[in-house]
């Protein structure tokens, strides 16, 4: 585990306990752990998720990301393979998304 992540508190599933602890370095470290190299497009989505959480107090679901951030489903699954909404939430330092769609 990277040094950045050792200093921050996470829950059983690896999500930040306090979204305010988040830094871009933490995002980079989580992404690296998942084998994802963050590009500008990834950051657009991460920032969308952070803003969404700030505004609504909950993490966006897959569909809320794709319609809200204007990212086609296909691209979302390509950028964050195998479970995009959960992966982005973790990278963005917000809780695991709830909701079925």
């Amino acid at each position: 585990m990277s040094a950045v992540l050792e200093k921050v508190a996470v829950n059983d599933e690896g999500y930040l306990l306090n979204p305010d602890d988040w830094t871009p370095e933490i995002a980079e470290a989580f992404a690296k752990e998942m084998g994802i190299e963050l590009t500008d497009r990834h950051w657009e989505i991460i920032n969308f998720v952070r803003n969404y959480y700030k505004e609504k107090g909950q993490s966006p679901t897959l569909r809320q990301i794709s319609t809200g951030a204007g990212v086609p489903t296909k691209e979302l699954f390509k950028l964050f393979p195998k479970g995009p909404a959960k992966k982005v939430a973790r990278i963005a330092g917000v809780p695991k998304p709830e909701g079925c769609i």
């Binding site: 897959l62 569909r63 699954f77 479970g83 909404a85 079925c100 769609i101």
Partner: protein
């Protein structure tokens, strides 16, 4: 955990209420990083039939779970079957369900199928029922990957968890 997990859904019903379980669970599975296969057979072919997908219906007849409370009435009581058979009741029930789904931001079946396809789910039509109903690949939505036999379905779902709906 989910790295190797695979789920297969068999859709055998063409009613609007029975269309959603596989689509929603399949979508949830993809969100968890699980591979998804959906096999449409018998009436389930309506879900992927270009001419029918937007016209799926919910019938109140013989549906003992449909109570007046769902329609916003203060008293939650059963709907007499004799009322359910009146002309227009199926249309009313269908419109009600579509409205409720829209309120929950659940997309229509056609759009959900596109989402599933784009997220990597494989969608197949059952060869035997396709032949029985005199259909061809042209009758189906573009998101359908192929028409396969029951045997092929069993082969491709080796090790998968199978859900029959």
């Amino acid at each position: 955990m989910a790295e190797e997990r695979k789920m297969a859904f068999i859709c055998s019903k063409g009613n609007l209420d029975m269309a959603y379980p596989a689509l929603i669970m399949g979508w949830a599975a993809l969100g968890e990083g699980v591979d998804v296969i959906i096999f449409f057979t018998f009436w389930g072919l309506d879900l992927i039939n270009k001419k029918r997908v937007d016209k799926l219906q919910l019938a109140p007849v013989a549906n003992t779970s449909m109570k007046t409370g769902m329609m916003g009435f203060p008293i939650d009581m059963g709907i007499p079957q004799i009322v359910g058979v009146l002309p227009g009741m199926t249309a009313v029930a269908t419109a009600l369900m579509k409205k409720k789904m829209e309120e929950l931001e659940v997309p229509p079946v056609r759009e959900m199928l596109e989402m599933l396809h784009d997220a990597g789910a494989k969608l197949y039509a059952c060869k035997m029922t396709v032949d029985m109903m005199g259909l061809t690949k042209d009758d189906f939505l573009d998101v359908v990957d192929d028409i396969v036999t029951a045997g092929e379905f069993i082969e491709m779902t080796e090790g998968a968890q199978i859900v029959f709906i």
